[in-house]
């Protein structure tokens, strides 16, 4: 029949998280929507679990046109445009309404357009990694003083490293390939990330305390090679963007839900979970870090993002 066509155009979408993770659910939703809206003329193949390479390598592949699309956390894609690191500023967002207001509003639109010009890749959807909270096996974190002396594996990003240093922790670099064993043997005392990540990567097997205070909120951009995007018809472009927007909303909802479920599941696994109600002492501790990077990122942008939460 002529309703469902054989695919005319197939796109490859790679990401670095496990099958069934919030990333993967969002990516698959995107693939379904593209297929439905194009009545089968466009198809998206999803490659999970870093099958096509690590996050930065795949982002570069997208820039070079080797892979069509990928979902990547902003700090692993900011090498082409520093202001993209605005999302990495500690305690930037008040809540998810604030995130939505920024990434779906005029601030996001302008930033992503500047990013496209600087990088040659286009942001077609915004996912989330979510609230990155510390997990360690020394002590539960209730006040900034509890960070003292704990060796935290923190991603290779100046702002994140500075923030953990300001909180009193010892930030340290450990490659992903060595990370599991390193945490198991106590080379590092902990790391930070959303609850779902601790479950997917099975860190609950030896890390005892998960403390829900989130210096960072992981914003993930789904990027597409701009030349490939521009080679599509207007109708096809509209389909990609519509599917991207809807899949993004869905993914952020799934991920938000996984935070609530995730903390329950961590408790079931025997992890001691505590929720920090008062963020203010932590925010005060990292205030100098925000001030330090404000100029580098652009103080107007930072102010606008902050104001969007009011």
């Amino acid at each position: 029949d002529d309703y469902v066509q054989t695919p005319q155009k197939t796109f490859r979408l790679a990401h670095g998280n496990a099958p069934g993770s919030p990333y993967d659910l969002g990516a698959n939703r995107f693939a379904e929507l593209v297929e439905v809206y194009s009545r089968g003329a466009m198809k998206v193949d999803v490659y999970p679990a870093a099958q096509l390479g690590g996050e930065q390598a795949v982002a570069k592949d997208v820039q070079l046109g080797v892979i069509d699309m990928t979902a990547v956390p902003t700090q692993n894609a900011s090498m082409w445009y520093k202001p993209m690191d605005v999302f990495v500023l500690p305690f930037l967002f008040k809540d998810r309404f604030h995130v939505d207001a920024v990434v779906e509003g005029p601030i996001g639109e302008e930033l992503f357009e500047e990013y496209r010009e600087a990088s040659g890749v286009r942001v077609i959807s915004v996912f989330e990694y979510g609230n990155r909270a510390p997990m360690n096996n020394v002590r539960p974190i209730t006040t900034p003083a509890d960070f003292a002396g704990i060796k935290f594996r923190v991603p290779k990003n100046d702002i994140m490293v500075d923030a953990y240093q300001a909180l009193g922790a010892n930030p340290t670099a450990i490659d992903w390939g060595d990370l599991y064993g390193a945490l198991q043997q106590g080379v590092a005392d902990g790391l930070e990330g959303p609850p779902q990540n601790m479950i997917d990567a099975k860190f609950f097997d030896f890390l005892k305390y998960y403390s829900y205070v989130d210096p960072f909120f992981g914003v993930v951009i789904m990027i597409m090679n701009d030349d490939i995007f521009n080679s599509l018809t207007e109708e096809e472009q509209a389909i990609i963007l519509r599917a991207g927007s809807e899949a993004g909303q869905y993914q952020r909802w799934v991920s938000a839900k996984s935070h609530v479920d995730g903390m329950e599941r961590l408790k079931e696994k025997g992890v001691e979970v505590n929720i920090v109600e008062d963020r203010q002492p932590f925010m005060d501790a990292v205030k100098p870090v925000v001030d330090k990077y404000k100029a580098e990122i652009g103080s107007e942008l930072v102010d606008n993002v902050m104001a969007a939460g009011n």
Binding site: A49, L64, D175
Partner: protein, 432 residues
């Protein structure tokens, strides 16, 4: 898309075969085959340059030059001579005794390293020259070490099991425990192989009689060398360093010993580093092209199609595992082990689960097949490491390698037919 998966596979595999046949170095053959496939696909050719870079960006592999350098320095500083003397004296009278020591040493080292080639590098540096000195055929010595080195991925910790645990959503520590039983069993099997072949071929040491005073003197002489594995073990189990970092701590320790004992000159270090660099280049140059080759097949959904094809043939779990085993033998010949697991697990696991196979058993099978892949040419990383240390060509080692590969294949068959060997540990831990 340009061409379909079947055409792409036909192009790149025939190109690979052709290049190997005329004698192009193995890593570069994989690269040429990849470029041939790229040429007919719409993927930009810059893919090859980019993947040659990212395909080598694998931090844990740094342990390979680390342990090779440590071993080379130990030999140059004559630290190993005393260790070898001790081993000779202790097991020189047992047929195949040095082979058994090699296998057991690999098993011990495997309890700190999660990598096959790194284990081969660490043990081979010392034991290959020890066996050659005792009159063992060099090819035999290299083959036994290459095979023993595969224990690195089966005895916990294990890099592939970590990846498998995440993708298959299984507990990694429990998987580790599951690997311990088949791992120790394999130590016994390989030791038996060394004893039997040693007996048949009359492989033994000096025939010197072992007495307690002699042993004591030899032990005292070897104490600094014996401390090395203890230090490496200690560094890792006290949480001082990752195995990758520990390899360099081993280098530093050897240098300090060599300088303290005045047996090591700066020129020795220079030469050892150059030799290590050359070895690392010849062995790991294969990584980038192998990654490019595997990724291209994946981008054309070849693993997915294979998984579906196998799933349609049968729904008997044992038959399925046998077919998957066959597929993994083939994949293991030209693909790097970790990539194979990353690429094939998400594809094969659903098929096997649907048929009722135990995912733990499949995980252990994957690792055992990966061990075989370390040994099978053309891309057999353990063989590369062992042959480079023994200064032999892969053809020269092949003859000695074939029976060992056969042993491992039989072992894989046992793993398939008796699921309990693999699953016992896991289910004991989870109480199911």
């Amino acid at each position: 898309m340009g061409i379909d998966a079947a055409t792409l596979s036909a192009i790149i595999f025939s190109m690979l075969g052709l290049c190997l046949l005329i004698g192009v170095p193995i890593g570069y053959s994989l690269g040429i085959a990849t470029v041939a496939g790229l040429y007919f696909s719409p993927i930009p050719l810059i893919y090859i340059a980019q993947t040659l870079y990212t395909g080598t960006e694998l931090f844990p592999l740094i342990a390979i030059p680390g342990f090779v350098l440590a071993g080379d320095l130990m030999i140059r500083s004559k630290i190993t001579d005393k260790l070898i003397r001790l081993v000779f004296l202790s097991v020189g009278n047992i047929p195949g005794g040095l082979g058994v020591v090699t296998v057991v040493a690999c098993g011990l080292f495997a309890s700190i390293s999660g990598s096959g080639p790194a284990t081969t590098a660490a043990i081979g540096g010392i034991m290959i020259s020890a066996m050659v000195k005792a009159g063992y055929p060099p090819a035999y010595a290299a083959a036994v070490t290459a095979a023993g080195g595969t224990l690195g991925v089966l005895i916990p910790p294990s890099n592939p099991m970590i990846i498998y645990g995440v993708v298959a959503d299984l507990s990694i520590p429990h998987l580790f425990v599951s690997g311990a039983v088949p791992g120790l069993l394999l130590v016994a099997v390989l030791s038996a192989y060394c004893y039997i072949t040693g007996r048949i071929r009359g492989l033994r040491g000096s025939g010197e009689k072992l007495t307690l005073p002699k042993f004591f003197i030899a032990f005292k002489g070897a104490i600094w060398a014996l401390l090395m594995p203890i230090i490496v073990l200690g560094v890792i189990y006290t949480g001082m360093a990752t195995p990758t970092e520990a390899s360099m701590v081993a280098v530093l320790y050897t240098m300090i010993l060599g300088f303290a004992g005045r047996t090591l000159k700066p020129s020795d270090i220079f030469e050892a580093m150059v030799t290590t660099g050359k070895l690392t280049g010849a062995i790991l140059i294969t990584m980038g092209p192998a990654m490019a080759f595997g990724k291209l097949l994946t981008m054309y959904q070849v693993p997915v199609l294979l998984g579906q094809g196998i799933g349609e043939l049968t729904s008997n779990p044992t038959l399925l595992l046998l077919m998957v085993g066959g597929l993994l033998i083939i994949a293991g010949t030209f693909m790097e082990g970790l990539s194979t697991i990353i690429l094939l697990t998400p594809v094969l696991l659903p098929v096997l689960k649907a048929a009722g196979a135990d995912p733990v058993q499949f995980g252990i099978l994957l690792v055992v097949m990966m061990e075989i892949g370390f040994l099978t040419p053309p891309l057999g990383v353990n063989v590369f490491v062992a042959s480079a240390i023994a200064k032999l060509s892969i053809e020269e080692i092949s003859k000695e390698l074939i029976p060992l590969i056969a042993v491992l294949l039989l072992y894989a068959l046992v793993i398939i037919l008796f699921p309990t060997i693999s699953t016992w540990g896991y289910h004991y831990m989870t109480g199911r």
